[in-house]
């Protein structure tokens, strides 16, 4: 396959960026999208140009590092991570636009690399269960109904890639934040911090400059792990419940 790539190039956080056009040839449909970019980069290095910087690591869809907007869609046309997108999803002769995540809370570091440390700070605000090493009771002391365990798992699958934010017209981080809250708040182990968790994480999310949620649902459509949109409504319920409880105290 022969392709035309239009790629966002930006030297660093302070520089102005622009789209640059490149041609790549000999692309196999079995290549992953990132392997196609490897081909481009090998080409650029040999011709003395700066290769395109992009985040990637596991290349098996679980680390959450890769983060490209492809033809206007976070992670491209299939519902998966960029690393698991294959060139068979494209046609010979296609022109493909490749951009970084676009969101106020994710500033561009270089080319296609963005700063997602805001996500880490949201987790630091309460996305954990306080259980210092050595303090744990026997694992079978508290049975957890299978339905609850499955529900927790379904939300714990979030890989923190940020596609939800990139896809949202408001640049909101509601799906990311709610996934962790749903995971931990449904478990008996998470109950003692149930209220503080949702209040603190939502407050941190707002402080990071993410946009507000208007329930357009683009986030859940882009999510490579299928975190459901109901995650957000449940978080809102948790937040209301916690706010009412805090007001009573």
């Amino acid at each position: 396959m022969k392709l035309t790539l239009r790629v966002w190039r930006q030297k660093n956080a302070d520089a102005e960026g622009a789209m640059a056009t490149y041609e790549v040839d000999g692309i196999s449909p079995d290549m992953s999208f990132l392997e196609m970019l490897d081909v481009l980069n090998e080409q650029l290095i040999l011709s003395g140009e700066d290769p395109v910087a992009f985040d990637h690591d596991c290349r098996e869809g679980i680390c959450g590092a890769c983060s490209l907007v492809i033809n206007g869609e976070a992670h491209g046309p299939e519902r998966t991570t960029t690393c698991q997108l294959h060139m068979r999803s494209f046609k010979d002769g296609d022109t493909i636009d490749i951009e970084p995540w676009r969101a106020a809370a994710f500033p561009v570091v270089k080319d296609l690399v963005v700063d997602r440390s805001a996500f880490d700070r949201i987790i630091q605000a309460g996305g954990y269960i306080t259980a210092p090493t050595g303090s744990a009771p026997e694992a079978h002391a508290t049975p957890v109904p299978k339905a609850d365990a499955d529900y927790a798992f379904e939300h714990a699958e979030c890989i923190g890639c940020g596609a939800c934010v990139a896809a949202c017209p408001n640049g909101a981080a509601m799906l990311f934040t709610s996934a962790k809250i749903n995971h931990l708040n449904v478990l008996p182990q998470g109950a003692p911090e149930r209220e503080t968790r949702v209040l603190n994480m939502v407050a941190q999310m707002d402080e990071e400059g993410f946009g507000g949620c208007t329930l357009t649902g683009e986030c859940a459509t882009a999510c490579p792990k299928g975190i459901p949109l109901t995650s957000i409504t449940n978080m809102n319920k948790e937040w209301l419940r916690a706010t009412r409880k805090a007001a009573k105290r």
Binding site: N12, L34, E35, I45, P51, D57, I123, T133, A139, A152
Partner: protein, 649 residues
């Protein structure tokens, strides 16, 4: 100059610091004898932890909870992305919830035997003891393990064992355990107890007065080289499987931290012990950047086969039952498809070498779920393995519910690593290595679902008390600053190395060298090794190294985000480590576990150990790039599990 293969044998390692006495009392004894640091004094002590995987994440969180000041590093943009996250199948623990005859003693036995009698008994027993606490700890953190309808934890079976002791969270156990450790670490970051440096890569170790006192690291965004000082340094930087270029490791997993520590005096043990995992998706082309694992758990329900006849090109569904060879079930009837990884990998290689392999180039075997789907129904198979099936379909464009998966072995894990004593301390005082970065617990072959167990055992439970002891015994270490001549020298060396890489301006990309090295290693130091091949590799590696320094082209500058520079710098270290791996493989003329020397096999083609010659861990001391290293042997004593020819038949 003496040639690299003319290594000398130095003093044996006399003391591993493992306590004596009955094996089940040793860890308690060690903990009791360990000195303690007064909680008020802990705040004054600083510990550097490099890496945020299961071992590093759990260690950083636990040390910070205890009151130490922790400075932690990861090269990724977030500590949540360390490659432990990609572990699929599960984590072993001797809980015996199934009442199927499991016990600490049995997990200990299985692990020593699975490692083909090349691991230290005391360490393995401790690991088995701690395994039960790990599950408790993770459940308390909210790790959503799979559960039964009664609300209790579910388990499954993994290779090399006959009990069901593997706890799991669908095919994403590593992810869930890592997020548990990451969340515990995040809590400590928020509390101000951990100073976290993401996108920062350790490039060298600072050793002052014989003790590890800090690291040199590069801020990957600004390119700035910084120094960090501490009372002790913990390396939790994972394995070195990426030496092979193609492996199941993450693209950026690398050996730089442990190799630089080795160059500064830490012995490197059993470098040739690499694990080739039997069930990976076969490679499809030259552009391939990495290989993807299909979890071992699939062997619970999938059946492995190839056609009986050579060159049988019919689609799998058209090959009748009696013309298929379920070779693992045939050769190993009692373990069947669940033999250990080294055995399954070698068997796959053998049938492919016979010309019975399937798929492009005949480099594959079938992993067939037709019987499982018939027995359990598609729904049940989907619930158990759904995400793995999806991943397979995405990569290969084939539907594994309809046609059998094609799999082939690939480099997955490295049992070798920095030599550590019972306290997980390397031969450099104050430098500790945990998780895959050390060599400690798996001998010559790791059993499935034991890497997660070891990483978390080291980080949550083993390192904290032993590090405590080190700090208590060294209460007053002189402060180290940037002005110290040793520090200036290490920084200058690091800068010179990077500048040299940038200034060669040759005509080959860093990746082209990495691929070349990887192919060489896979050919001669992969699934089967022999004297001639290893000598060939040992001759070729220095040539590639020389060529690298003449012809590599690294664009850009050092003062910016420069992924080519990062890559090239890691390849510098692979080009040295690969040589040591080949030498280790050459010197060990026996076969054991994942190390198969063609010259040493039983009449039926199984690995033949030579216990009277090689019942030791090989710990290598660095003497200079390309210079013959010194071998120090740690004799392995088996008091509880008597070495026998492993049998899974």
């Amino acid at each position: 100059m003496t040639s690299y293969v003319d290594y000398t044998v130095g003093d044996p390692i006399a003391d591993t610091k493992a306590p004596s006495g009955p094996i089940h009392e040793r860890w308690d004894k060690r903990r009791f004898e360990a000195k303690l640091v007064n909680p008020a004094n802990r705040r004054k002590r600083t510990v550097i932890v490099v890496g945020t995987g299961l071992a590093g994440g759990s260690a950083g969180a636990t040390l910070a909870e205890q009151g130490y000041r922790v400075i932690q590093f990861c090269y990724q943009d977030s500590p949540r992305r360390a490659h432990s996250i990609a572990a699929q199948g599960g984590i072993n623990a001797a809980k015996n919830y199934r009442n199927d005859g499991d016990s600490i003693q049995r997990l200990f036995y299985d692990t020593v035997k699975g490692g083909d009698f090349r691991a230290r008994e005391s360490n393995v027993h401790r690991l088995a003891q701690i395994s039960v606490e790990i599950i408790d700890q993770c459940v308390a953190q909210g790790v959503p393990f799979a559960r039964e309808y009664g609300g209790l934890l579910d388990t499954r079976s993994f290779g090399g064992v006959q009990v069901s002791r593997t706890f799991y969270a669908r095919g994403q156990t590593g992810q869930q355990l890592l997020l548990g450790a990451y969340q515990a670490l995040s809590r400590q970051i928020a509390a101000g107890n951990v100073e976290m440096h993401a996108r920062t890569e350790m490039l060298d170790l600072i050793v002052v007065d014989g003790r590890a006192r800090g690291i040199v690291a590069r801020d990957l965004v600004t390119g700035k080289i910084d120094t960090y000082f501490a009372d002790a340094v913990v390396l939790a930087t994972g394995g070195y499987g990426n030496v092979f270029y193609l492996s199941t490791n993450a693209m950026n997993s690398n050996a730089t931290a442990i190799w630089r520590a080795h160059r500064r005096g830490a012995y490197f043990a059993n470098p040739c012990f690499t694990q080739i995992h039997p069930t990976c998706i076969p490679r499809t082309g030259d552009y391939q950047s990495k290989l993807t694992l299909m979890s071992e758990s699939l062997r619970n329900d999938g059946r492995i086969w190839v056609p009986k006849a050579k060159g049988d090109n019919r689609p799998p569904n058209e090959i009748p039952e009696d013309e298929r060879d379920y070779y693992l079930e045939r050769i190993y009837p009692s373990f069947g498809n669940l033999v250990p990884r080294d055995i399954a990998s070698r068997a796959a290689k053998n049938v492919c070498d016979e010309g019975r392999g399937v798929g492009p180039g005949g480099q594959g075997v079938y992993l067939d779920f037709a019987d499982a789907i018939k027995r359990m129904g598609r729904k049940a198979v989907e619930a158990k393995y759904g995400n793995l099936f999806d991943m397979y379909q995405r990569i290969t464009d084939e539907d594994p519910y309809e046609v059998p998966m094609r799999i082939y072995p690939a480099v997955h894990y490295t049992m070798g690593g920095l030599w550590v004593d019972y306290d997980l301390q390397t031969t450099i005082p104050g430098l500790f290595a945990i998780g895959e970065a050390n060599f400690s617990d798996h001998g010559a072959n790791r059993l499935g679902a034991s890497a997660l167990m070891q990483g978390l055992a080291d980080g949550y439970f083993v390192l904290p008390p032993t590090l405590n002891d080190y700090l208590a015994r060294n209460p007053k270490l002189d402060p180290v600053t940037d002005e110290h001549p040793v520090v200036q020298e290490v920084v200058a060396e690091t800068e010179a190395r990077l500048n040299k890489l940038l200034s060669v301006d040759g005509d080959r990309t860093p990746d082209s060298f990495h691929r070349e090295l990887g192919e060489l290693m896979w050919e001669y130091c992969g699934m089967a090794r022999n004297d001639t091949g290893l000598r060939k590799a040992l001759q070729r590696i220095p040539e590639i190294r020389e060529e690298f320094w003449k012809r590599v082209k690294v664009p850009g500058t050092g003062e910016e985000l420069n992924q080519s520079l990062e890559k090239a710098n890691r390849i510098v270290d692979y080009l040295e480590l690969a040589e040591l791996m080949c030498l280790d493989a050459l010197h060990r003329t026996e076969s054991c576990g994942g190390h198969f020397r063609e010259e040493s096999q039983t009449p039926d083609g199984e690995a033949a150990r030579k216990d009277d010659e090689f019942s030791y861990a090989a710990a290598w001391e660095f003497t200079g790039t390309g210079k013959a290293p010194v071998l120090h042997k740690e004799d392995l004593v088996f008091e509880y599990v008597h070495p026998t020819q492993r049998s899974y038949a």
